[in-house]
Point group: C2
Chain length 246, copies 2
Amino acid sequence: MNAPTASVSLNNIKVACSQCNLRELCLPVGLTEQEFSKLDALVGGRRKVKRGQSLYRAGDPFEAIYAIRTGFFKTDLLLEDGREQVTGFLMAGEIMGMDGISNEAHTCNAVALEDSEVCGIPYAMLEQLQQEIRALQHHFYKVMSREIVRDQGVMMLLGSMRAEERLAAFLLNLSQRFTARGYSPTDFHLRMTREEIGSYLGLKLETVSRALSAFQESGLVNVQQKHIQIVDIDGMKKMLSRQANC
Amino acid sequence: MNAPTASVSLNNIKVACSQCNLRELCLPVGLTEQEFSKLDALVGGRRKVKRGQSLYRAGDPFEAIYAIRTGFFKTDLLLEDGREQVTGFLMAGEIMGMDGISNEAHTCNAVALEDSEVCGIPYAMLEQLQQEIRALQHHFYKVMSREIVRDQGVMMLLGSMRAEERLAAFLLNLSQRFTARGYSPTDFHLRMTREEIGSYLGLKLETVSRALSAFQESGLVNVQQKHIQIVDIDGMKKMLSRQANC
DNA sequence: AGCCCGGTTTGATCTGTATCAATGTAGGAA
DNA sequence: TTCCTACATTGATACAGATCAAACCGGGCT
């Protein structure tokens, strides 16, 4: 009965947004000191989530949204027959759980792909605080809107692109997000398996593997298991803009 | 030259949300009379959009969100090479344009599939009013969250389902939305072409047509061009829950 | 060291959907 | 009415990606 609760329970080390080095990613700019202190009071506490554990599951009552402090998550949906669809990969500074607002219950699972730590932000208190801090309201709408735009992009990818285009779009997207976090745009470590990438991209794991091999063959990337080095980032971008058939 | 601007210009017939028979779909429940009158003052005016015309296009500056009073829209994205991805179909009482919040510009096109009328809601004023009406803030977050959940469902569909499952999910979704508007759950008129359905579902128009024929063959629906009659709605639902291969 | 095991790569073959092509149909304009 | 045009259906064939299968790798354990 190695219940997962032990290591995922809330702990009460207060998180100070005002001190967090991710605040540029996660929060609106230009908050006053006073506003920061209100925010610090709001954020419920950190929670550690070990690799493989769920932060929340589809059906769980919705209480909070979560900002990732460290680590890496996937969100996914399960069909009754067991088919899985990964709907997103999330990294430090990104915000998760907004799907839960509409039904007061989460609609997807959030699973840590490496040992991670999140800040829980009780939703009722967040709504309250937005009455006091206009910039926060504005910012949070932007965050949700960004999620909608991201989802549209994934639809485009799943509905209109071929396998190699999907993978190129995926790698470029990761590259850009790692860059925004101060990591190399061209050298990174994939936290997810080929199968999870495939699920996200609507492909089978073998197809992902073959596409990566093909990229390597044509000198676009070096692949060594989970370590990816993008050799020709412009060539990669061209994969996305070129005609369907050439 | 027959510039579309003439017929899509704003007109100033005031819209009264308090009188609108779609308010249950579009607004939070339980607003006081006073709150309604504030809301009536906010809504900018109606705008007619003729079949085939755009309400807004990708890149347009974001100023307002829109509630559909009457009619039917699609939203879509275009890739440089001309490929189109339809990202949604929207009907009366539904709200459009929230993708624009994040970048202060719309990221998709909204095109009327039949002569339609919308209520424009200036976004800056909406944010303002939410400070005064808590229920409105809560409701609007729910609306955005619902959009995120819907998008997740589309990802599931595009990433994990086969052609006939996608079409079944699509028809059942339409059926449910028509029902909520007081129309027949089993008899309806498709406003979009097979090609647009295909784009939405990540299929070619011929595949959509064949799948419809197959449903008709097996007694699930009657199809006569754009008129659809669902004969066996339970059979249809079973298409979604059964195993991938049987 | 040696083994195990989850994850990955690669090959051979199959299949669902795309593509190409021809015909059919309904509704609008003259 | 007849023609025209956009849309839809149906058939034949091609192909991208799925599936099945076998080897391969690398990291953790004893």
